[in-house]
């Protein structure tokens, strides 16, 4: 032992929540895209990913106030009485002269979050900005928690593990390998989830365990396998002061998971659709996005392509959302706070499953 060991032996207990955890009220990601225009000043469209009470949907909408700033530190002075430059989850905002920082004051009950974006016109081109994840892929990997130790948790050991196909469910205590197609592994993806434990593999790939673990140099010190539930994942790609995100859900279940349909990467309980269908949305706290499908009625005949699909009324145009929404129902509207859950309860909407989209996309 040496006197220098104090720095080695000096230690801290892990915090209960780390940056991977989507818990409580959290602004998980903010995207801002310049509106295509030849005129100045430039307008920006923003898109949020927000969890409320640790869920990717809200019954009570948080208050969102946007401010144009010269310096992020000015956001500290903003409060409920400050006059915002925009409100809501997806305003179109035009930057005033000399102000290139967009600040957000988000309030939910007693909680508040302050976030900002430094908007960089030169990063408008996608190649100069954070690469956009096409979707989040989660594949089975043979890495149960029971086998975790300093050797098996090492990056090189895990990199060589065989990986299965994309899976929408996982058994408690087992693992999935997540990546974000569209983002090179030399880039940086931040992974977040509403439950479980991440063990990253490289810049854009991670393993995830259906278990809450406390690891110390690869040794499992504490373990609590997840009960049956739905876990929402968020992949945030960052680069050049521009971040982009994609979300997905997976089911933790010991048995055959309930019927579900994947739409825009997210899951909807209540039906296993392989083609576009009308269905009624019902509130369900245990369902991904807080909504389940009942009384599905597939469209017959099946549309042959997206153009034919546009002939059908999506049933979403008149939804009482905070921002206008268009097209077939997208569960991400709740994650992005475009729509609160309560007004959607009972709505009859067009649902287009990803499996159908993928099929027509791949068709010659």
């Amino acid at each position: 032992m040496t006197l220098l060991l104090p720095m080695l032996l000096a230690c801290q207990d892990p915090f209960a929540v780390d940056r991977h955890d989507l818990v409580g009220f959290r602004i998980a990601a903010i995207e801002a895209e310049p509106v295509e225009s030849t005129t100045e000043p430039r307008a920006w469209d923003v898109r949020l990913a927000v969890v409320v009470d640790g869920r990717p949907f809200a019954d009570e909408q948080p208050l969102l106030s946007w401010f144009w700033l010269e310096d992020p530190v000015e956001l500290e002075a903003a409060d409920a009485l400050s006059e915002p430059d925009g409100v809501g989850p997806a305003p179109s905002l035009t930057a005033p002269e000399g102000q290139s920082v967009l600040g957000l004051l988000a309030r939910y009950g007693d909680e508040e979050q302050r976030s900002f974006l430094v908007l960089d016109d030169t990063a408008a081109a996608p190649s100069a900005a954070g690469a956009r994840p096409e979707r989040v892929r989660a594949r089975a990997v043979d890495l149960p928690v029971d086998t975790l130790d300093p050797e098996t948790s090492a990056v090189e050991a895990r990199r060589n593990l065989p990986v299965g196909s994309d899976s929408t469910s996982v058994v408690s205590g087992e693992a999935l390998r997540l990546d974000a197609p569209g983002v090179p592994n030399t880039e940086r993806v931040r992974w977040m989830a509403t439950a479980g434990t991440f063990l990253e593999l490289d810049g854009a790939t991670t393993d995830w365990f259906a278990s809450d673990l406390t690891l110390d140099e690869g040794e499992v010190e504490e373990r609590a396998d997840l009960p049956e539930q739905v876990v929402t994942f968020l992949a945030l790609s960052t680069g050049s002061h521009r971040s982009r995100f994609a979300a997905t859900d997976r089911i933790v279940s010991a048995e055959e998971p309930p019927d579900h349909t994947q739409v825009h990467g997210r899951l909807l309980y209540g039906a296993d659709l392989d083609r576009p269908a009308y269905a009624t949305l019902v509130a369900d706290d245990l369902a991904p996005s807080g909504l389940a499908l009942v009384d599905p009625t597939p469209i017959d005949p099946v549309p042959r392509d997206l153009q034919e699909l546009e002939l059908f009324d999506p049933g979403t145009t008149a939804l009482p959302c905070f921002e206008p929404v268009f097209g077939p129902f997208d569960p991400n509207w709740l994650l992005e706070l475009l729509c609160p859950r309560a007004p959607l309860d009972g709505a009859r909407v067009l649902v287009v499953p990803d499996v159908w989209r993928d099929a027509i996309t791949e068709a010659p």
Partner: protein, 722 residues
């Protein structure tokens, strides 16, 4: 007396011996004994002027000089000799040393003296005299191993308010790496004093304290040295005569864990520190000329996150902070003494460099050369009155380059504050400083007045000269009791690196402090000493350095407090001391008073060391109330980089928990032919409730916890002396 001796004395030469204390005062009654052969010789007693004459035959003789309350001095002399033998007693090793130490006349109101015995035998100091400074009354108790543990805060002053001198040359810092060891070894130190406040005009440009160390300059009669090793470092020193007049001294120390390839993911570069001193001298502490080179350096690299808590990829990408600091001193000095005047003159060049970098997030590089010339004179008018005067000139060339860090730099704000400020700097500053002083000691020993005046000029402060008058009144109404009252004006210009754009402000004003202290010293029964000191410091424009902010001044500052000290000592047998300090230090910042960085309301210390034959047993306990720190109040989320920018709360609005520490020591010394070997074992105990080193925060700075140090730390050491 043998016929041989009588015959020898018939052909004797007269040898004049002059005996004085370190202040230059004669010691009447000192006994001078010269040995002609193994057992016979001549002796005499010093007169009121401290002079004694003995007749000795030509040749080499052993001279022994003794006086009550002083360390006996022994040396070899050759007769005949042209000049008298001047003997100056160093801080006493005699049983009555406590009495003498407490009552010694000094132009400084309060003076804490550290000597070798205390340094070697006080638990928790690792035989390091300068580490012992951190345990003195008046000094803020810092948490060991923490990033701030090397800071010296005295009577509520900020660390930058104090100056550290070695032989009159200012050194940039006192401690290696978080106070693990001081930058110069105890074996090189002759005297070490802490002047906590209201010191005389001999020192200036400081509103805090002064640490005045002087090298050991007694002439070695033969080669002596030591070698030591503990779990931190290995080192050695040798002092040896080269000729009749010339002697050399070499010492060196180095940490060694890195040599074994030791490193961890937390410390990719294991902390390395070293220091060495090489000295060539002609003459002794009273008269002589010498040249010396001194060097000290520290470096390490560490991960700023707790890697154990991160997954492998995160741990691999976790930023690290690289840190390196060091200095070299190249100097010459000359000491002289005549009947009327004594003094010293020093010229030195000091190179200081510091580098800090956070991977991918900025770096800081400081480099400076400082040339120093200094002269201190002490003279006598008539038999009693004394005067002192001196001059201190410095010229420096400093460059500072800072590429600011991002939000993560806040986590290393203590180590590399420039990164956390978020401002770029690239500049060079030439600076000249000149200080002169004059002082006097007037009146009889029962009531002495010691006025002094210092003038300071600094090219960074415009053309204005600062005049700082000071006065100490010391009364000894009865033997064993001393009353003292001191006060004066103290001014200080900011550190050079704070005058750069981006670090502070080129127009930072001068800090001015009016200080007052009063105290009483009482000796009881000849061995027990009690001292009570109170002090008040009022400051205008004190400097504040808050994490993440530019260095600035605030309107006012104030420190008020008191210290009580009880000390008992039987030299080389037993010593014990206990002290209590209470103080309050505040600053007026933006129209409201708040705690200053050094606001430690209560501190208590007790130490005891007991020699039982060849065994030394020691124990020390320290308690201190928690120092203030600035908490964080959440953060701003930078959505473009997925990073959190911390927001600081009100300055110094939170406090560390109270601190307790117990040090226990046992050492055993073997006496072998020509050398001794001492093995020591210590254990440092810090209860869990006090083991917090520094705060740490979660990813978005909404939760704060502590990095906790060890609660039990055993240490072993081995020292050989020859």
């Amino acid at each position: 007396m043998s016929p041989l001796v009588l015959w020898s004395l018939a052909w004797a030469s007269e040898l004049l011996v002059i005996v004085a204390d370190p202040g230059g005062d004669p010691i009447p009654g000192a006994r001078v004994e010269a040995f002609v052969d193994a057992s016979e010789g001549a002796e005499a007693q010093a007169d009121e002027r401290g002079r004694a004459t003995v007749d000795l035959p030509d040749g080499e003789h052993r001279l022994l000089v003794e006086a009550p309350g002083f360390t006996p001095r022994e040396q070899w002399i050759t007769v005949p000799r042209k000049r008298p033998v001047r003997v100056t007693f160093q801080p006493s090793e005699a049983a009555l040393e406590v009495v003498v130490e407490g009552m010694r006349t000094t132009p400084h109101a309060t003076r804490h003296v550290v000597d070798a015995e205390k340094a070697m035998e006080t638990p928790g100091t690792l035989d390091d005299a300068v580490r012992l400074v951190q345990s003195l009354p008046s000094v803020t108790v810092q948490r060991e191993y923490s990033p701030t543990s090397g800071d010296l805060s005295v009577r509520g002053s900020a660390p930058g308010d104090s100056r550290y001198f070695l032989d009159g040359i200012e050194i940039p810092y006192l401690y290696h790496f978080n106070q693990y060891a001081s930058v110069f070894p105890t074996s090189q130190i002759g005297t070490l004093e802490l002047l906590p406040s209201t010191f005389s005009a001999q020192f200036g440009d400081a509103v805090g304290a002064v640490v005045d160390a002087r090298s050991r300059l007694d002439v070695p009669q033969a080669a002596h040295g030591s070698a030591h090793v503990n779990f931190v470092m290995v080192g050695g020193d040798v002092r040896s005569p080269v000729s009749e007049d010339v002697w050399v001294s070499v010492s060196g120390r180095r940490s060694y864990q890195d040599l074994g390839g030791e490193q961890t993911s937390q410390y990719p570069v294991w902390p390395i520190f070293h220091d060495f001193v090489v000295r060539v001298e002609r003459g002794d502490a009273e008269e002589g000329t010498g040249a010396f080179v001194m060097s000290a350096s520290d470096s390490y690299e560490r991960a700023i996150d707790e890697l154990d808590l991160l997954d492998p990829v995160e741990a691999e990408r976790a930023p690290t902070v690289q840190y390196a600091e060091g200095f070299e001193i190249y100097g010459m000095h000359h000491r002289f003494r005549s009947d009327a005047v004594s003094g010293r003159a020093i010229a030195a060049a000091v190179r200081h460099r510091r580098f800090g970098a956070l991977t991918g997030e900025g770096q800081e590089e400081l480099s400076s050369w400082t040339g120093t010339v200094r002269a201190d004179l002490v003279g006598r008018v008539a038999k009693v009155e004394r005067w002192n005067a001196g001059i201190e000139g410095r010229a420096s060339d400093t460059s500072l380059v800072v590429a600011p860090g991002g939000p993560e730099a806040f986590r290393v704000a203590e180590e590399v504050p420039a990164l956390a400020r978020g401002e770029a700097t690239d500049g060079r500053l030439l600076r000249r400083q000149l200080g002169t002083y004059i002082g006097a000691r007037l009146g009889p020993s029962r009531l002495m007045l010691m006025p002094s005046l210092r003038s300071e000029w600094d090219s960074s402060g415009g053309t204005a000269m600062r005049l700082d008058p000071r006065l100490l009144v010391r009364a000894t109404p009865v033997d064993g009791t001393a009353l003292k009252l001191a006060g004066g004006r103290y001014t200080q210009r900011p550190e050079t690196e704070w005058l750069f754009e981006g670090a502070g402000d080129p127009d930072l004003p001068t800090t001015t402090s009016w200080q007052l202290s009063a105290g009483v010293e009482q000796t009881l029964g000849g061995r027990l000493e009690f001292a009570l000191d109170t002090y008040l410091k009022e400051l205008d424009n004190p400097v504040v350095e808050l994490p993440g902010e530019l260095v600035r001044t605030v309107a006012q500052g104030r420190s008020v407090g008191g210290e009580a000290l009880l000390r008992y000592r039987l030299r080389e047998r037993f010593f014990t001391a206990g002290w209590v300090g209470v103080q309050q230090s505040t600053v007026l910042d933006e129209d409201s008073w708040r705690p200053a960085d050094g606001d430690q309301r209560v501190s208590v210390g007790m130490v005891a060391s007991w020699d039982v034959g060849r065994t030394n047993l020691g124990a020390r306990y320290r308690f201190a109330s928690g120092l203030p720190f600035t908490p964080l109040a959440g953060s701003l989320y930078d959505a473009g980089t997925d990073a959190w920018v911390p927001r600081t709360g009100p300055a110094n609005s939170d406090r560390y928990p109270a601190y307790h520490k117990v040090d226990l020591r046992v050492a055993y010394t073997w006496t072998l032919p020509g050398w001794t070997l001492t093995a020591s074992a210590e254990v440092w105990l810090v209860p869990r409730v006090s083991a917090q080193l520094y705060p740490t925060w979660n990813y978005d700075y909404t939760e704060q916890d502590w990095v906790v140090g060890p609660t039990v730390l055993p240490l072993l050491g081995l020292r050989a002396r020859f």
